[in-house]
């Protein structure tokens, strides 16, 4: 099975994990993307809500399983075809939640410019940390899409 190991800076990443975990805890009871169904689909929405929350929780659990003893001793996280999709989804959900809560006050174009420059700008310490988490989750997605694109997997097999 194809496996990609990534060496991360423990001093840079470890301090972000508590905040990412706090946001993941919010996702246990809140969808990252609110349902956009019409009022006439309220019954369907109620069923979906529970199923989507369960899926979201499982995905976040898979993400946090990356940060195990190997990470805290060697700084290494490993992606494979088993965890690539849930980790991609977890990163997407967490980024959306960061954007709609801790980074909600930043206009889209400002955030885009900050992302492009990876600059922390004149943010407060709390917002800097949230933005660093936002960028870190994006980097994880980029790595998975580059080396373990689920579509490439299907084409390989």
């Amino acid at each position: 099975m194809k496996r990609v190991e990534v060496r991360l800076s423990i001093p840079a990443v470890a301090p972000l994990l508590d905040l990412i975990k706090a946001v993941a805890d919010e996702l246990r009871t809140n969808l990252a993307v609110p349902l956009a169904l019409s009022d006439s689909d309220a019954e369907l929405a109620a069923v979906w809500n529970e199923d989507l929350l369960a899926s979201q929780r499982d995905d976040c659990d898979r993400l946090f399983s990356l940060f195990n003893q190997e990470f805290f001793s060697e700084g290494v996280v490993a992606f494979d075809r088993e965890n690539a999709e849930p980790v991609l989804r977890a990163c997407a959900a967490l980024r959306l939640r960061f954007r709609s809560t801790r980074l909600a006050h930043i206009p889209d174009d400002t955030l885009e410019a900050l992302e492009a420059s990876s600059s922390l700008g004149n943010m407060s310490e709390d917002v800097q940390k949230a933005f660093a988490c936002f960028l870190f989750l994006d980097e994880l997605q980029k790595i998975i899409l580059k080396y373990l694109d689920p579509m490439a997997v299907e084409e390989d097999e």
Partner: protein
């Protein structure tokens, strides 16, 4: 007897999700090639929405649910042309 009404699956834009991620998901769920998936992603990016599938209600629900599972916002609407 009237034929069953068709439903549209509408993919809605968001300003956060990485474009390459959205393209990958559209390819995976709908079997689009890269060019078609990119076209839908850009249409949603520019117009706020893109109709990605039209057909029977049961399948439309399954597709919309899958999009939501990948954290891409989607809605269902009746296809006025059917």
């Amino acid at each position: 007897m009237a034929s069953p009404r068709a439903w549209r699956v509408v993919f809605l834009n968001d300003a956060v999700t990485r474009m390459s991620y959205a393209v990958m998901v559209l390819r995976k769920l709908f079997g689009f090639d890269e060019q078609t998936a990119t076209k839908h992603m850009l249409e949603a990016h520019e117009n706020g929405r893109s109709v990605v599938w039209v057909g029977v209600r049961e399948n439309a629900e399954a597709y919309a649910f899958s999009l939501q599972q990948w954290h891409l916002s989607a809605t269902l609407e009746p296809d006025e042309e059917s």
